[in-house]
C-alpha cells in the first residue's frame, strides 16, 4: 500500500505516493526527477545525497520518504535563484572547486547549511563541517577556499 505524502520542495508544494521502505533520496530522484542529489554510499558516509530538511542538513539516503510528510525539503535544484547562481555556486565555479562533479551538489548543500548557521567560520570549522562529505577528485583544498571566500563575500554584503 502506497502512502500519500505532502511536502514542500524548494519552496513549492509537492505530493507523491511512496512505499514505506523507499528512501527520500529515491523518491526525489526517481519520482520527482530531482536527480541533483546523488547516491554515493546509501549509508550516510559520503554526503552526496545531502539535502536540507526543515533547516537541518541530512543525508537523504537515511531518511524514509514517509518521514517527509509536512516537511520542508531543500535540494540543489533550488539553490540558485532562477538564473542567478547562489554565491557558493559562483565561487565553486570561479575557484574550480569541482572535477567530476558528482560530490558537488552535496558539498554545496552542506556548505549552504553551514553558512546559514555561521557566516564567519574558521578554516578548521569549514573542514570539520564538511567532514561528512567525501570527494575523491579535488583533494578538498579548492572547496575549502571557495567556502571561505564565499563566507567573506557574504559578510561584506
Amino acid at each position: 500500500m502506497k502512502t500519500h505524502i505532502t511536502t514542500t520542495v524548494n519552496g513549492e508544494p509537492e505530493e507523491f505516493l511512496c512505499e514505506t521502505e523507499q528512501t527520500l533520496l529515491d523518491i526525489l530522484r526517481d519520482e520527482l526527477n530531482l536527480t541533483g542529489s546523488k547516491e554515493g554510499c546509501s549509508s550516510g558516509d559520503c554526503g552526496a545525497c545531502s539535502i536540507i530538511l526543515n533547516g537541518r542538513l541530512v543525508c537523504a539516503c537515511l531518511v524514509l520518504a514517509v518521514e517527509a510528510e509536512g516537511q520542508k525539503i531543500e535540494t540543489i535544484e533550488g539553490m540558485a535563484d532562477g538564473e542567478e547562481l547562489h554565491p557558493l555556486q559562483k565561487n565553486f565555479l570561479k575557484d574550480a572547486a569541482l572535477q567530476c562533479g558528482i560530490c558537488t551538489p552535496g558539498f554545496l548543500i552542506a556548505a549552504k547549511a553551514l553558512l546559514e548557521k555561521n557566516l564567519n567560520p574558521t578554516e578548521k570549522e569549514v573542514r570539520y563541517w564538511l567532514a561528512g562529505n567525501l570527494c575523491r577528485c579535488t583533494g578538498y583544498d579548492k572547496i575549502i577556499r571557495s567556502v571561505l571566500n564565499t563566507a567573506e563575500e557574504m559578510r561584506r554584503k
Binding site: 549509508s43 558516509d45 565555479l93 574550480a96 562533479g101 560530490c103 573542514r127 562529505n133 570527494c135 579548492k142
Partner: protein
C-alpha cells in the same frame, strides 16, 4: 588578438550544469519503464556450485526474469584477456556468471531483473545457491606462491600467472664492483579507487532499427562498443556506447568487461525493455577491481659516495582471482623502480600471483606508487647507511639535463615500447624543493621543537611517470555554419579532468574563437568512434595533440576560404574574436559565414547562406561545386600516435610533527614540485595534482582493503574503509616547472596520476626523520597507521618511554 589561450587559467567551462544539479550520470538518464538488475554474489572465496534454485525468486512479485549461466547463451564464456603478454603464461579471466566454481567473494553468480531495484534486491535474496564446503585458500601472496599452497586455479602451479625478468646493462658486474650494498623489503597493501560514483550501466535495444544503446560509466566507451559488437556479433554501427558524466574513475572504470557491462545489454535485448544496473557501494568493494599489493625485495649496489651502480628487485604482485588486464600494473612497476636515477645496470624479476579475492587492474598510479615507495625508501636508507645527506645522494644519481633522451637499454614499458625518458630538469626540481622547504629554517625549527619535546620530521620523494602512451587517439572538428561555434570530438572520455576546457583552449588558439564557443562532445561512439580510452595519464597528450592537428587543418581551410571571400592573401589574414580579418583593416568575415560559404548550397536559410547558393555571384563558376579532394564545410579529422611514452616527474616533500605518545601525525607542510611539460591550464593541472596527492595521502595512511584468511572482505563500506575527508588532507603547496616534451607538437606530458605516486614514501621518510631520536625501525609498509608507528617505536629498542 594573438594572445595564446594555451597556458591560461581559463575557467572550467562545463561546471554550471554540475553546480546546479544538472549533471547527467548514468543513473540520472531518464529511461522510462527501465528494469533493474541485482546480482546474487558468491559468499565464498573458493567453492564449487552444487546447484542453483531460482524458483522462489522467479515467483516474487515484480520479478521479470532470473538468469544463471545457463540462461545467457553465448555469453557463457570467459571474458577477454585485454592485454596478452608473453610472460603471462597462465591467463585466467572470469565468466559473466559463475559456472561450476566461484573464485572470490562477490563474484556474480545469478542476475535478477525486476521492476525496480528494491524488488530486484529482495528477489536476489530468494535465490538458493548450494555450494560445496569452501576450499582452502591463501590470501597472502608470499604464502600463495609456496609449493604446498592451495591453488586458486587448479591448473596454475604455485598460483603464478606470470613470470617476467627484465635486465638492463650488466647488473652482475655492477654488484661485483660496488663498495656498498643496501637491502630492503617493502610492501604496499591492497587498495581501491573508490570513485564517488559507483559503476553503472543502462541499455536500451530498439528492435525496429536494430540499434543497441548502452550508457556506461566507463573510461573506454569505444573499446566497450568494439567488445559488445564482437561478443554479440553485431555490426559496430548498430551499437552506440555513451559514457555520460562519469563520477570519477581512477582506473577502475577502464576494465572491460565487468559482467554487468555484458549482461545488462543482453537482458535489454532479451527482454526488449530498457534495463539498468546501478552498483551500490558495497558491490563496488566486492565486484569492481582493486590494486596495489606488491612486496619488493630491493638491493642497491653503490659506491661509497652513494652513486648507485646497480639495482636488483625481486617482487611479487597480487593479481587477485583473475588477470583480465594482463600484467600492466606489474610491468609499470618493474620499469618505474629505477625512478629518475641513472642506475645503468638493473635486474628486475617479478611474479604475478593469483589470490582468491577481487581481481586487480590499474588504479591511479598503476604500479608506480609501489615502485616509487621501494626505490625512494632505498635511497633514504642508502644515504643513512653511508652517512650522507638524503638530498645529496639523490643529486648524485639524478639523470642530468644533457643526458636526455635517456634510454634504458633492453627494458620494455607496459606499452611494449622502449623506456626512453624524453626530457626533464631533475636537478632543478631538487634545487627548487630545497629552496621552498627552506632547509636551514627547518633544521632550526626541528632543533627548537626537540627542546620542547616535539618531534618534527622532513621527508622527500622523487617520482617519474611515463604518460601519454599509445596506440592513438583522434580529433574531429566542425565549425557550425549558423552559430560559428566549433564542435570538437575525440574518442576518449572524461571523469572530471576538464577535457571540455583544455581541449577548447587548444582549438581556440587555432581558430581565433573564445574557449566558450568550443563545444566538446566526447565519450559517445555516436559522435566519434575511433580511439581507445582514458588511462595512463594520456588524454592531454594523445587526444590533445590529435585535436591540435585537426584544428590546424581547420585553420587552413578557414584561411583559404576567407582569402577567397575577402580577396586577400592568406598571409594578410588573422583569426580572432570569431572572425577572419585582413590585418590592419576592418575588412572581415565571421567564422560562421566562412563555414557556410565552404558548403556549396542549393537552398538558402539565411543571408550568409545566400552567398553560398548556385546563383550567387560569389559561387558562380564552371567548375564542380567541390574541387578535387575538397569536402564541404569546415570539418577536419586528425590522429595522433605517440612514438612512445613521455616522462613526467616531480619531487614532493613534507614536514610532519609526530606525537610519539599518541602515534599521531600532523602534516605541517606538503610541498610539490612537478613538471608535466607545457601546461595547457595551470588551474586544471593543480586540481589534478591536488586530487592525486589526496589519494596518495589515503594510500599513505588509511586505505587498506582488508580480507580475512578465508577471503572475506572486512571493510567493504565507507565506515570501515577509510577515505580521507577534508579533515585529513592538508593544504598543498604547488610549484611548476615546464620542460616541454620533444615528442609531441604541444610539448605536453600527462599529469593525471602524478600526485598520487610519491606520497607514501614522503610520509614514511618524514616520520622516520621525526622519530630519529628513538632510533625507530624503518617504515617499509604502507599504509602507515598509528599502530604501525607504535610497533616501530616498540621495536626500536630505544628508551622510548623515558623520552616522552
Amino acid at each position: 588578438m594573438s594572445t595564446r589561450i594555451f597556458g591560461e587559467r581559463v575557467q572550467r567551462n562545463n561546471d554550471e550544469r554540475l553546480l546546479t544539479g544538472g549533471g547527467r550520470y548514468v543513473d540520472d538518464i531518464p529511461l522510462s519503464g527501465a528494469l533493474h538488475v541485482a546480482f546474487v554474489r558468491s559468499p565464498f572465496a573458493r567453492a564449487q556450485i552444487i546447484s542453483i534454485d531460482t524458483s522462489i525468486a522467479k515467483e516474487h512479485p515484480g520479478v521479470i526474469k532470473v538468469y544463471t549461466y545457463k540462461d545467457i547463451g553465448n555469453l557463457d564464456v570467459e571474458m577477454p584477456l585485454l592485454i596478452p603478454h608473453p610472460a603471462l603464461h597462465s591467463p585466467k579471466t572470469q565468466r559473466p556468471l559463475a559456472h561450476d566454481d566461484v573464485f572470490y567473494v562477490g563474484q556474480t553468480v545469478v542476475m535478477v531483473v525486476a521492476i525496480d531495484r528494491y524488488v530486484a534486491e529482495d528477489a536476489a535474496r530468494l535465490v538458493d545457491v548450494e555450494y560445496s564446503d569452501p576450499f582452502n585458500c591463501s590470501i597472502e601472496i608470499e604464502e600463495a606462491v609456496l609449493d604446498d599452497a592451495p591453488l586458486v586455479h587448479p591448473d596454475v602451479p604455485n598460483n603464478v600467472a606470470a613470470h617476467c625478468i627484465q635486465v638492463s646493462g650488466n647488473p652482475d658486474k655492477a654488484f661485483q664492483e660496488a663498495e656498498h650494498y643496501t637491502k630492503l623489503k617493502v610492501r604496499v597493501d591492497r587498495s581501491t579507487a573508490a570513485p564517488m560514483e559507483c559503476r553503472a550501466v543502462a541499455a536500451r535495444f530498439d528492435a525496429v532499427s536494430g540499434e543497441l544503446t548502452v550508457w556506461d560509466g566507463t573510461q573506454a566507451p569505444i573499446s566497450v562498443r568494439g567488445g559488445i559488437a564482437s561478443i554479440f556479433n553485431l555490426d559496430e554501427d548498430k551499437v552506440r556506447v555513451i559514457a555520460p558524466d562519469v563520477g570519477g574513475g581512477f582506473g577502475q572504470k577502464v576494465l572491460l568487461f565487468y559482467p554487468d557491462e555484458l549482461l545488462v545489454p543482453f537482458a535489454a535485448m532479451d527482454l526488449d525493455r530498457p534495463v539498468k544496473y546501478i552498483e551500490d557501494r558495497t558491490e563496488n568493494f566486492l565486484g569492481s577491481t582493486q590494486e596495489r599489493t606488491q612486496i619488493h625485495d630491493v638491493e642497491l649496489a653503490a659506491t661509497k659516495d652513494g652513486v648507485v651502480l646497480g639495482l636488483k628487485d625481486n617482487f611479487l604482485h597480487d593479481t587477485g582471482a583473475f588477470i583480465p588486464y594482463g600484467i600492466a600494473v606489474a610491468q609499470v612497476a618493474s620499469t618505474g623502480i629505477l625512478g629518475p636515477y641513472r642506475i645503468p645496470n638493473s635486474r628486475v624479476e617479478y611474479k604475478a600471483i593469483y589470490t582468491p579475492i577481487v581481481p586487480v587492474t590499474p588504479y591511479r598510479g598503476c604500479g608506480r606508487p609501489h615502485a616509487c615507495f621501494a626505490i625512494e625508501r632505498a635511497m633514504d636508507q642508502l644515504a643513512d647507511e653511508l652517512g650522507l645527506d638524503r638530498f645529496e645522494v639523490r643529486r648524485r644519481n639524478l639523470i642530468s639535463e644533457d643526458e636526455f633522451p635517456y634510454e634504458r637499454p633492453n627494458l620494455l614499458f607496459a606499452d611494449g615500447l622502449a623506456v626512453i625518458y624524453d626530457s626533464g630538469q631533475y636537478a632543478k626540481a631538487l634545487d627548487m624543493i630545497i629552496e621552498k622547504i627552506n632547509l636551514d629554517e627547518f633544521n632550526t625549527q626541528q632543533k627548537a621543537a626537540a627542546q620542547e619535546g616535539k618531534y618534527l620530521g622532513l621527508g622527500l620523494s622523487f617520482y617519474v611517470e611515463a604518460t601519454g602512451i599509445g596506440p592513438y587517439e583522434g580529433g574531429h572538428i566542425k565549425v557550425h555554419p549558423i552559430t560559428g561555434k566549433v564542435y570538437v570530438n575525440t574518442g576518449l572520455t572524461t571523469q572530471g579532468q576538464g577535457h571540455e576546457t583544455v581541449f577548447a583552449q587548444i582549438v581556440a588558439d587555432q581558430l581565433g574563437v573564445s574557449p566558450e564557443d568550443v563545444i566538446l562532445v566526447e565519450g559517445d561512439t555516436g559522435a566519434f568512434d575511433w580511439g581507445v580510452a582514458t588511462y595512463a595519464s594520456r588524454a592531454a597528450v594523445v587526444s590533445g595533440n590529435a585535436i591540435h592537428l585537426a584544428a590546424q587543418k581547420a585553420r587552413k581551410i578557414v584561411l583559404d576560404a576567407a582569402g577567397n571571400m575577402l580577396e586577400a592573401s592568406v598571409d594578410d589574414l588573422e583569426l580572432g574574436g570569431g572572425e577572419v580579418r585582413v590585418r590592419g583593416s576592418d575588412v572581415s568575415v565571421s567564422l560562421a559565414a566562412v563555414a557556410t560559404a565552404c558548403n556549396p548550397l542549393r537552398y538558402a536559410f539565411n543571408e550568409a547562406a545566400q552567398a553560398a547558393t548556385q546563383f550567387a555571384p560569389a559561387a558562380r563558376s564552371d567548375e564542380p561545386a567541390l574541387g578535387d579532394g575538397r569536402a564541404p564545410g569546415v570539418e577536419t579529422t586528425a590522429y595522433y600516435a605517440p612514438p612512445h611514452a613521455t616522462w613526467a616527474y616531480g619531487v614532493h616533500a613534507a614536514i610532519v610533527e609526530v606525537d610519539p605518545g599518541l602515534c599521531s601525525i600532523d602534516i605541517k607542510r606538503y610541498i610539490c614540485v612537478h613538471d608535466c611539460g607545457n601546461m595547457i591550464n595551470p588551474t586544471i593541472v593543480e586540481g589534478q595534482v591536488m586530487g592525486g596527492v589526496a589519494q596518495g595521502m589515503g594510500g599513505a595512511f588509511y586505505e587498506r582493503v582488508e580480507f580475512d584468511s578465508e577471503g572475506n572482505p572486512r571493510n567493504a563500506n565507507f565506515m570501515d574503509f577509510l577515505v580521507p575527508y577534508a579533515t585529513e588532507v592538508s593544504q598543498i603547496e604547488l610549484h611548476h616547472i615546464e620542460t616541454p616534451s620533444p615528442l609531441n607538437p604541444l610539448g605536453v606530458k600527462g599529469v593525471g596520476e602524478a600526485g598520487t605516486i610519491p606520497v607514501a614514501p614522503v610520509i614514511a621518510s618524514a616520520i622516520e626523520d621525526a622519530l630519529k631520536p628513538f632510533g625507530i625501525k624503518r617504515l617499509h609498509h604502507v599504509p602507515l597507521s598509528p599502530n604501525s608507528i607504535y610497533e616501530a617505536l616498540q621495536e626500536s629498542g630505544g628508551d622510548f618511554n623515558s623520552k616522552l
